[in-house]
């Protein structure tokens, strides 16, 4: 049994290995991109919409509203990053009901990669919004707080990665354990719970990322 899809090696060429995480990530990416392309190639600008277009519009509008609520800013520049985080994690987790599929978010490598992306994106957004003065928040309220602030940044990134990995991995493991103890009905309920947890974790991850970015980009008004 593979706790994480990283251990599912499909192809190995020196240090380059095509494992289950990357493969399933590609599957999710293809599914999302092709699905999006199929739906958005014939978009209607009239008041009558197709159901799929309506679904995507509801998703995009919901994400924009959420970002606007959190950041109190125009959601346009954050939507691609935060929205993709949410959609990728959500789709990856929801697809776990497909037999044989292992969610890439159940790999600590994936969650660490996403957390690293957030870790890099936060200062990038901060600098693009506030310039060099962004770094001033690391020495506030005093310069002695600089190491603690840096530790805080790193630890919250680590926490994000572990939180997502732990939740998804535990879901997979619990399902596997229950399957061996009580193979009928009960694992189905746990699977449903796993879907719910997967969606909640996607939401939490995206919201946390947005909160960090919003904190970095928020303009401090002089008191």
């Amino acid at each position: 049994m593979h706790i994480t899809p990283d251990t599912l090696i499909i192809f190995q060429w020196g240090p380059v290995s095509l494992n289950g995480t990357i493969l399933f990530t590609w599957c999710v990416m293809i599914l999302m991109v092709v699905g999006s392309w199929l739906i958005t190639r014939n978009l209607s600008t009239e008041t009558h919409l197709s159901q799929w277009q309506n679904l995507l519009e509801v998703l995009v509008t919901g994400m924009r509203d959420e970002i606007r609520d959190i950041s109190s800013q125009d959601p346009g520049r954050y939507l691609s990053f935060v929205g993709t985080l949410f959609l990728f994690i959500a789709v990856s987790n929801v697809l776990s009901i497909v037999p044989g599929y292992k969610p890439p978010t159940g790999s600590f490598s994936t969650t660490a990669a996403l957390a690293l992306c957030v870790f890099v994106a936060v200062p990038l957004y901060g600098i693009s919004q506030k310039g060099i003065s962004y770094f001033k928040q690391y020495i506030e309220p005093s310069v002695f707080m600089l190491p603690f602030n840096i530790i805080g940044e790193i630890s919250r990134t680590f926490a994000m990665a572990v939180r997502l990995f732990g939740n998804i991995m535990s879901g997979t493991v619990i399902a596997a354990i229950l399957l061996s103890i009580a193979p009928l009905i009960f694992p189905v309920l746990m699977q449903v719970l796993g879907l719910l947890i997967g969606l909640i974790q996607a939401y939490i991850f995206a919201i946390l990322a947005m909160v960090y970015i919003a904190a970095a980009t928020r303009v401090q008004h002089p008191k």
Binding site: M29, V33, S36, T40, T45, T84, P104, S107, A112, L116
Partner: protein
């Protein structure tokens, strides 16, 4: 080992590629479509608002026109009512005038007819009286009517009063040839000579008397001088008959007129 750094890097790249692709195929088109739809909806709302404003204006204008039309109609109706009233009065007046004119003409025609009738009656009655008198005189006294008339006339001439005599003389003096004796019949020469003789005696001068026959005198004879007349004829006797006939005719005519006006 839980973390595989190659996978981490690959996943970072994968994630960034996914960000790009979703931006290209999902967020961009969807947001563009939504913006476009919002614009269209805003445009159609704007259009609807404009049309509503236009419709409001039209409705206002229509209401104003309707009100004006009502006022104008009322005005026209009252004008027409007045005109009709005036026209009705005019027509009634005209009709009344026509009736009055017709009645006047009718009265005039009746009057003329009455006059003609009376004239005719007088003439016929005179004639008839003459005929009867002539026959009666002839039968009973063997006297000629004309001769008797002339005798009566001569007697009248002889018995002229002073004023008449004075006027006769004055008239003869001014124009001796203008003395004329008119009669309904031819005066016999003997009688004519007698009349001339009486006139000469009365006027104490030579008189030129001209005798004329005038059938309208109806069995009579007259002498005219300076507006005065000395005569004898049946017409005088017939006047009484005429008056009574006239009274009877008038009462009949009045009854007929009343019946006509009642109708």
């Amino acid at each position: 080992m839980l973390i595989d750094w190659f996978t981490v890097i690959a996943q970072i790249i994968n994630f960034l590629v996914l960000v790009y692709l979703l931006k290209r195929f999902l967020y961009g088109p969807i947001i563009r479509a939504m913006d476009e739809r919002e614009k269209k909806i805003a445009l159609s709302l704007e259009g609807a608002r404009e049309k509503k404003d236009e419709a409001d204006l039209e409705a206002k204008d229509y209401r104003r026109k309707n009100r004006e039309f009502d006022e104008r109609r009322e005005e026209l109706f009252s004008q027409i009512r007045e005109e009709v009233e005036v026209r009705r009065k005019n027509l009634i007046d005209e009709a009344r005038d026509q009736v009055d004119t017709g009645r006047t003409k009718w009265y005039e025609a009746i009057r003329k007819e009455k006059e003609t009738f009376l004239q005719d009656l007088r003439w016929r009655a005179g004639k008839q009286t003459c005929v009867i008198s002539r026959r009666a005189l002839k039968d009973m006294a063997d006297v000629d009517l004309e001769n008797q008339i002339i005798h009566v006339f001569i007697e009248k001439l002889r018995s002229l009063n002073d004023d008449e005599l004075k006027e006769l003389k004055e008239s003869i003096r001014q124009s001796p040839q203008k003395i004329s004796v008119r009669s309904a019949f031819e005066v016999p020469k003997k009688m004519a000579g007698e009349i001339i003789e009486v006139l000469r005696n009365q006027a104490s001068s030579n008189v030129d008397v001209r005798f004329e026959i005038s059938p309208d005198l109806i069995c009579g004879i007259e002498l005219k001088f300076s507006g005065r007349r000395i005569s004898w004829n049946v017409a005088d006797y017939l006047e009484t008959l005429e008056e009574s006939l006239l009274a009877a005719l008038e009462s009949k005519a009045e009854k007929a007129a009343d019946r006509l006006s009642d109708k």
